[in-house]
């Protein structure tokens, strides 16, 4: 949500606007005899000096760089597997991501407070998952796209959508508060995994139009059971499209734990069945997430085909404010995950390295407070809603029936006033 991100995104929209009417076709990839998907996976595997199978299968160890205590842990005797080692992200990338992380956490707290105060209809909080939320768009360029779910408001905001616009859906004013094209962020999708296919189609369209566009498409662990999840992965692999599928495995689908969703060794293992690479990363380790995303976005932009990233994390709060999590999980379990908190972990790590000074921390926290205050103000302001808008966007031009119905409503409201 920082201004620079918003500007980058807006700017990108303008830049690419010129090609909006561009003809389909043209790029080499669409020509007959194009490189087969399998060759692309082979090429990527070759670049790491490993077999395609070892490239497609997730590493045997969870990808983690900074441990729960905030210290770098991969030097602790653990040799990364060939082809699965990830260089440390640049310092400025770490700090930029940390800013968004702190703001994301603050906005999650703010949103839950707004729900308690009745200012919002519902909020599916990503509290505890903020590292994933921030990493999802951290390596996207202005021309790229993010396809989020209902739980990804913080990811949407991190990509540059103003918080109030990201929250419109949950406040209950309208179904989407932002223009997806303006920010290159899909709608906050509720029908599970339907948005993954949209992301695949968008990537396909961009390729056909000769545009360099990477898509990051998000879903939860439970959602991987839906048919659309599998169709999306398969389409992306068969058409070797630049899509990074990102599964935030927060252990539960409402009340249903992961072991009731899948018998696979991990969700990342699902990738190999479609002929793409999967990786499993500590979802509370922002450093590792940034490293894994950097490589995934780069590889897919270079033509490796799609990839799947599974992040192991935890939904600290209930599914939504309407849910009672005590019915299906213990407080101890949630408490344990609180000790793995992504925000304190990152703060400790950056402080220990001397990158985060007290002054800088104060500045980061102040920016987060500012964002929360703006959101609070916006959400508390009484919104004038025009019931006539119900008829305005159904079609390009309202049908005669809609014109009639809108007149009926106008008449009813006028009589109510009188």
């Amino acid at each position: 949500m920082s201004d620079d991100v918003r500007d980058r995104v807006r700017h990108g929209t303008d830049e690419t606007a010129g090609s909006a009417g561009g003809a389909v076709g043209g790029p080499d990839e669409t020509a007959a005899g194009a490189e087969q998907p399998t060759n692309r996976v082979r090429a990527a595997a070759r670049s790491f000096g490993i077999t395609p199978e070892d490239y497609m299968l997730p590493a045997r160890h969870l990808i983690r760089i900074v441990g729960p205590d905030g210290r770098v842990c991969r030097s602790a005797g653990e040799d990364p597997e060939p082809g699965h080692d990830y260089p440390l992200p640049a310092d400025e990338d770490l700090l930029a991501a940390y800013r968004r992380l702190v703001t994301g956490r603050r906005l999650n707290e703010q949103n839950s407070a707004l729900v308690r105060q009745g200012r919002m209809a519902v909020y599916p909080s990503s509290y505890g998952q903020e590292a994933c939320q921030v990493a999802a768009s951290a390596h996207l360029e202005p021309q790229d796209w993010l396809f989020p779910t209902y739980r990804d408001a913080v990811a949407v905001i991190s990509r540059g959508v103003p918080p109030e616009e990201a929250m419109t859906l949950f406040r209950g004013d309208w179904h989407s508060g932002y223009d997806p094209r303006e920010y290159r962020v899909g709608i906050e999708s509720t029908p599970l995994t339907t948005q993954l296919l949209h992301g695949v189609g968008l990537a396909h369209a961009a390729r056909l139009r000769g545009e360099d566009t990477v898509v990051v498409a998000l879903c939860g662990d439970g959602a991987t059971s839906e048919g659309d999840f599998h169709e999306a992965l398969n389409f992306a692999a068969v058409f070797h499209l630049p899509v990074v599928f990102f599964v935030q495995n927060n252990q539960y689908a409402i009340s249903v734990p992961l072991e009731r969703q899948t018998a696979a060794p991990s969700l990342a293992h699902k990738a190999v069945g479609y002929g793409m690479a999967g990786e499993r990363v500590d979802g509370n380790d922002l450093v590792a997430l940034l490293a894994v995303f950097e490589r995934a976005v780069r590889l897919t932009r270079e033509g490796s085909g799609p990839l799947l990233i599974e992040a192991l994390t935890y939904r600290i709060e209930a599914h939504t404010n309407a849910d009672d999590a005590t019915r299906y999980r213990t407080d101890e379990e949630a408490e344990h995950w609180r000790t793995l908190d992504p925000v304190t972990r990152m703060r400790t790590y950056l402080s220990d390295r001397g990158l985060l000074t007290d002054d800088l921390q104060a500045e980061v926290q102040a920016a987060a407070e500012q964002a929360a205050a703006e959101l609070r103000e916006g959400m508390n302001a009484e919104q004038e809603l025009d019931p006539q808008e119900l008829f305005a966007h159904v079609f390009t031009v309202p049908t005669p029936q809609l014109v009639e119905q809108s007149a009926q409503l106008a008449d009813e409201l006028a009589r109510e006033e009188a």
């Binding site: 209950g172 179904h175 119900l390 009813e412």
Partner: protein
């Protein structure tokens, strides 16, 4: 069981009555099983399956992977395998991934196999609006199902009917789409669940009370041939409604009485099969008809009902059959839904238009 006494009736929610119907069906028939998303330990997001997994074990009530097509498709196999699945779709709009299985197999299997394979199952769907839900949580999807030959479509408006109609739906050898009005889940009626159970299991016939406390009409017969009831008697016009719309229609009828208009309210209870006889008998008496439903009006069940009345009662009608329905727009966001739902005023406006001048 003709009457229940003040001592035995207690306020019961529709969710509790549905839960009791499931429990009693699981007890009565070892072939019945309940599955879906979050129906196990959580007891369903509306608590309709609360306690069933604990009481009947994980073989009889269980959570599936999160996939509606999987739930409906495996229910087909379960029914072929001799069981009676009762499946839950978590919300109306989340039943759409299962649509392929519902319309292509569940609805057609009996006919395709010349009666060899019955699809004895119930598809329970929390449905319609009025709860301030964000998008995809308030669809009125009855017309999709009602339009599909081979599916029975039922929606209760009272607590007693919720119990009786769900029991009958589970015992039916035909597939039943059982639409549970979300906004009525926690509405209470004075009912005696033990008496209802005894009455249902004795196979007793119809009783009918205006407050719905004993359920209208014989629920098994309703599943075979339609089972509308008179929810309020009147002489001047017939208002036909079902499920989520009934409370507003009854409130409108009560308000109209103050204006000296006596409105009869019919609760259709079953959409398929539709009780033409009950509706026709009423309209022939009153000479005026208004159909009220919450779904968008174009291509709606309300349109079908209005057409049937017009075809059958033309010579008794003093004016055209009118409808009050939701607008032809995607279901509104929470803060605007009150403008969409047919409320008392909109219903009374339509009543005013029923040609009273002669």
């Amino acid at each position: 069981m003709m009457s229940t006494t003040a001592e035995t009736t207690t306020p019961v929610t529709m969710a509790t009555a549905l839960n009791a119907a499931l429990a009693d069906a699981l007890t009565a028939d070892p072939g019945v099983l309940v599955f879906g998303e979050d129906v196990g330990i959580l007891g369903g997001v509306f608590r309709v399956t609360d306690g069933l997994a604990e009481r009947f074990g994980a073989d009889r009530c269980f959570d599936t992977p999160l996939a509606e097509s999987g739930i409906a498709g495996t229910a087909v196999g379960m029914a072929i395998g001799g069981l009676r699945p009762v499946i839950e779709m978590q919300f109306d709009a989340f039943a759409y991934p299962a649509f392929q299985q519902v319309v292509s197999h569940i609805a057609k299997m009996r006919n395709r196999t010349r009666g060899a394979l019955a699809m004895s199952m119930v598809i329970r769907i929390p449905y319609a609006g009025g709860i301030g839900g964000v998008e995809h949580h308030s669809d009125s999807s009855e017309a999709y199902y009602a339009h599909t030959p081979g599916l029975k479509v039922v929606t209760p408006a009272t607590v007693a009917d919720a119990y009786l109609l769900l029991r009958a739906a589970i015992d039916s050898d035909d597939p039943v789409v059982f639409l549970e009005p979300k906004k009525l889940y926690f509405a209470k009626d004075q009912v005696d669940l033990a008496a209802l159970r005894a009455r249902y299991e004795a196979g007793a016939g119809a009783t009918s009370t205006s407050d719905g406390s004993e359920g209208g009409g014989d629920p098994r017969a309703a599943l075979e041939a339609g089972g509308a009831t008179i929810a309020r008697s009147g002489t001047d016009a017939t208002l036909v409604a079902y499920g989520p719309s009934l409370p507003a229609v009854l409130a409108a009828a009560a308000a109209a009485e103050a204006d000296g208009r006596s409105l009869e309210v019919i609760d259709a209870r079953t959409i398929v099969p539709f009780d033409d006889a009950a509706v026709v008998a009423s309209v022939r008496r009153t000479g005026r008809a208004l159909v009220v439903s919450e779904e968008s009006g174009f291509g709606s069940v309300a349109g079908e009902i209005a057409a049937r009345i017009q075809e059958r009662c033309f010579h008794s009608l003093r004016g055209p059959v009118l409808r009050v329905t939701g607008f032809d727009i995607p279901y509104p966001p929470p803060k605007l839904e009150q403008h969409f739902l047919p409320g008392v005023d909109r219903i009374l406006d339509a009543v005013d238009d029923l040609q009273w001048e002669d």
